[in-house]
Symmetry: C2
Subunit: 575 residues, 2 copies
């Protein structure tokens, strides 16, 4: 059997790139898997299992060659919140419920992909996403600080947890604090030391780029060694990592919680997909790949289903990890599959070692990576651009922090949609006139143009919908009332892409109202698809005026009927 | 003290017109007030009281000279449903609760007017309104048919009530059926007889127009007379009309039900306002009056508050009544105040007579007037125009009939908004080229235009929002991928009226992605207000290309860099 050409091509070169990338990703993924399992309040092996089969599933179905799936911080946080919200506290029940949750998320994403609902992710606006991320990061930060201080928190709300942490400062365990600070020092100092020790020529190479990223593994090795050999270091450890094959019957035991977990599953599915898609897209341009939302829905869904069936937790594509995968030169999706193999091997050979990792080390790894997301200044450019968008950001951030991720996200999405509708409900409407000697018609308030006393030409800069039809009617009739001696009104529809039934009824009413005042109503610059619709309505049967191809033709035809053009110039203060 | 000129002018002529109009409106309003009180399952005096002070309140605060407020069918139906939904069955408690409901509706409308929320009425699309009206009318029809058959219904749902009515046909009271048919005959035949008996010259006069409208009063007189003098006519009568002054302490007793009535109050307020505004607007054009939504909110709110304080029921402006007021030549809002006086006088002098009106007569008056609203064919033009809009109509109508007015309206509004958002999420995007020898640029799929191999000019026909930003990005990058040898992309923003923060981030990403592919990104025809915004963002700092005033300038500048223009003609099959 001859091997296909592209397989030979792959074996001859790309496989080497993928192998290097997979080793680098594994080095980053092991600490992250352990840490995010801890963040999700699950045992460490759940994080590791979520970094094996899901990667294979994505490699088989996804499109991005660099997207690195696995446990991610915000999904881990939402998983913890979902389990807590469903009142699940028993450790075994938690693992089962996390599997059920991943299964539901997988099912939702695959179904959404088959139903081609990928476009729904568009409805999370950027202010909502940014507001959600900053508050989630702060919540994660607070939740992990307790491992640093080695205190137990009784509160569930982030605000009260924070206050409790402040009160517990005096009661904190000096050993974990020192170990935590040591971890910070390694995470911060190791990359700098590495870069400094490399010859200048090597810094720009792949090795120079990747060596600093070993820092988390170094921190784990150093602190675990300290915990094992120094008798003075008495800190909580990750504990024994189970190497038993996942028990599929556990999932069936967790199914009872499914009913309680549905709302969380829907929301985590949305967030996991939005995050994965954003990460995949941001690297796709550089790899000149094309990412298709519905295809990714199915692939991320399959990854979650695979996590569920192998004792893992909900997964998504992670940004930091994907950046590493890209920098390490991952050439094809096989890199992900190889990473899965390496993680599986590590689970077989190093399980005994994982047990000695101090919890504080994993907590500091999370804090270190999440703190990059907390930039309070990011609201400033949004505020400068649009205070309303900044309001959405602030409401989402405040809602997530004070009322929980689900309520906060919902508030942000609803406010975004209200603003969107309200904006479209007040379209820009301008009276226009001819720029002398040209075929161009412009706003009388911004330009010096020619207008007629008996002819009102008005341009509406929006499609016409139920939400803005009455606004148009009001605006138009006010202009008509303000103009004495009118005989003709022309509505320029150059920016009208759609007219719904409500707006069509409004146009008929405007036509009738103008008729009652002895004024003819005309349309001009109606686009093809809109004209096709108008022909299916009664408007043409009742229209007192004509439909002109252009504003220029309308003005030439109707202007001659009146007392001639007069030049009107209004200052540019208006809009 | 000298009288103001406009008062003298009024006394010299308009007062006569208003007096005639008020007599005509009173003749119509008395039977309607009694009938709609019956529809609302309230005693007759509640309907009459709702036709006195509310008219004065509207005359003081409203703007329409012809809008006739008072009890209306759909608001009466919703009032009955609200009282039933709150579990209020005791007759005295019902009257008190109807007052509380009117007070809440008044408060909501006045508050909405002060907060300038009149624009909210725009979000009831025409398909929703029409679907709501037809189903409400059918529900009213079914509810009144029981008076015609003189049977008691046990079901509350219209569908089951209808089935019960069909089953009860055999058990119906022949006397009420005959009296009902007689009422129908008078309502139908009297106007025809009047018109036929008038000389042709008189038919076009005001008297010719108004005389047929006395029919309901004639029907009442005839059937009441029959019920009193013919021993064979044993039918349920309206019963004694209380002339006691309204007991204001009753309202305080009803306040307990307020909590249960809030959702209904909100919805009735919305419907009462939407109906009143639609009626006022449709006659304003003919009277050359200008109706301002927020002003009307306050006036209709005051009318409801006045109803509450005088033992009435929720009120709104009614279409049929306003048409009569217009036809009778009401000149100023004083006509409404005079009508109130006449109703008050009738309450003093004719109360004894009202008691003998058969219920079936009022029921048939309601059926006769409401059946004009039931036109099943009205969905056809909507369907022809837009099947999606017809779907909203059908969903609202079905929801109102099967699940109740509140759920049905909610479903219709939500579906309208979903369609609105989904439509705006998929804007029309077209590649354009120059029409040879002109400054016009048109869609390459619809026109024969000149394009360049290295220059892609794309026009987007929608403002850019979070909801369509990713759609634009996807569409644009697909076009870029399909064009080899591109060096420049120009986005024509002639139809872009707003760019929100999310879309601005997307433009920055598009700029970055094109840069990674070695392609420059330009904008052209950016409107003034949009440009003001762009200057507040980071886009200008990163933009690889330029911002051109027009498509023509962009093409002249960038076209020269390449291998010259080639003519491209594509058939007009696409959009």
């Amino acid at each position: 059997m001859a091997l296909p050409d592209n397989f030979k091509h792959y074996m001859s070169g790309l496989i080497g790139q993928d192998a290097v990338a997979s080793i680098v990703i594994t080095i980053l993924l092991i600490p992250q898997s352990l840490a995010y399992a801890q963040l999700a309040s699950l045992p460490p092996e759940v994080g590791l299992m979520a970094s094996i089969l899901p990667l294979v599933a994505y490699a088989l179905l996804g499109r991005s060659s660099v997207l690195a799936v696995g446990p991610v911080a915000i999904v881990a946080l939402m998983t913890a919140a979902a389990l807590q919200g469903a009142g699940i506290v028993d450790p075994t029940a938690k693992v089962a419920a996390a599997g059920v949750l991943a299964l539901m998320i997988g099912g939702i994403l695959i179904a959404a992909g088959l139903l081609r609902l990928g476009f729904l992710a568009n409805y999370l606006s950027q202010p909502v996403i940014h507001g959600f991320i900053i508050s989630s990061s702060i919540i994660i930060l607070i939740s992990q600080l307790r491992h640093m201080l080695d205190v137990t928190l009784t509160a569930h709300e982030p605000l009260f947890q924070f206050l409790e942490l402040v009160q517990s400062l005096v009661a904190s365990n000096p050993t974990t604090v020192i170990l935590g600070l040591a971890t910070f020092a390694i995470l911060f100092g190791f990359p700098k030391a590495m870069t400094a020790s490399l010859p200048k020529s090597a810094r720009e190479t792949t090795i120079g780029d990747l060596l600093p990223r070993v820092a988390p593994l170094v921190a784990i090795a150093v602190t675990a060694f300290a915990a094992v050999v120094l008798p003075a270091v008495q800190v909580p450890l990750t504990g024994e990592v189970s190497t038993a094959l996942p028990d599929l019957t556990a999932i069936t035991q967790g199914l009872g919680a499914a009913e309680l977990l549905w709302p969380s599953a829907l929301l985590i599915a949305l967030i996991a997909f939005t995050e994965s898609l954003a990460v995949a897209r941001s690297f796709a341009a550089r790899k000149k790949e094309k990412i298709e939302a519905n295809r990714e829905l199915i692939a991320i869904g399959a990854a979650n289903a695979a996590a569920a069936l192998s004792g893992g937790m909900p997964v998504a594509g992670g940004f930091a990890r994907t950046a590493v995968s890209f920098a390490a030169g991952a050439a094809t999706r096989a890199a992900g599959a190889m990473t899965a193999g390496l993680i599986a091997l590590s689970l077989v050979f190093f399980t005994g070692l994982y047990a000695y990792i101090p919890k504080v080390t994993l907590a500091v790894i999370i804090i270190f990576s999440i703190s990059k997301m907390i930039r309070f200044g990011e609201i400033l450019p949004i505020w400068r651009y649009s205070p309303l968008d900044a309001g959405v950001y602030a409401l989402t951030a405040g809602g997530v922090f004070l009322l929980g991720v689900e309520m906060g996200l919902l508030m942000g999405v609803v406010l975004s949609i209200i603003i969107f509708i309200a904006r479209a409900g007040r379209p820009h409407i301008a009276q226009v006139g001819r720029i002398a000697g040209s075929e161009h018609f412009r706003n009388v308030r911004r330009h010096s143009v020619l207008t007629h006393n008996h002819l009102l030409m008005v341009r509406v800069d929006e499609s016409l919908y139920f939400a803005n039809a009455l606004f148009l009617e009001n605006d138009l009739m006010t202009r008509v009332q303000d103009h004495d001696g009118l005989t003709d009104v022309v509505l320029l529809a150059s920016a009208v892409n759609k007219i719904d039934w409500s707006a069509m009824e409004t146009l008929e009413r405007i036509n009738g109202d103008l008729k009652a005042r002895g004024i003819r109503f005309h349309l001009a610059e109606v686009k093809g698809p809109v004209m096709d619709r108008i022909e299916r309505s009664d408007l043409l049967a009742h229209l007192t005026g004509e439909i002109f191809l252009s504003a220029s033709v309308a003005e030439s035809t109707l202007g001659a009927n009146g007392r001639g053009a007069k030049s009107q110039m209004v200052d540019g203060a208006g809009i």
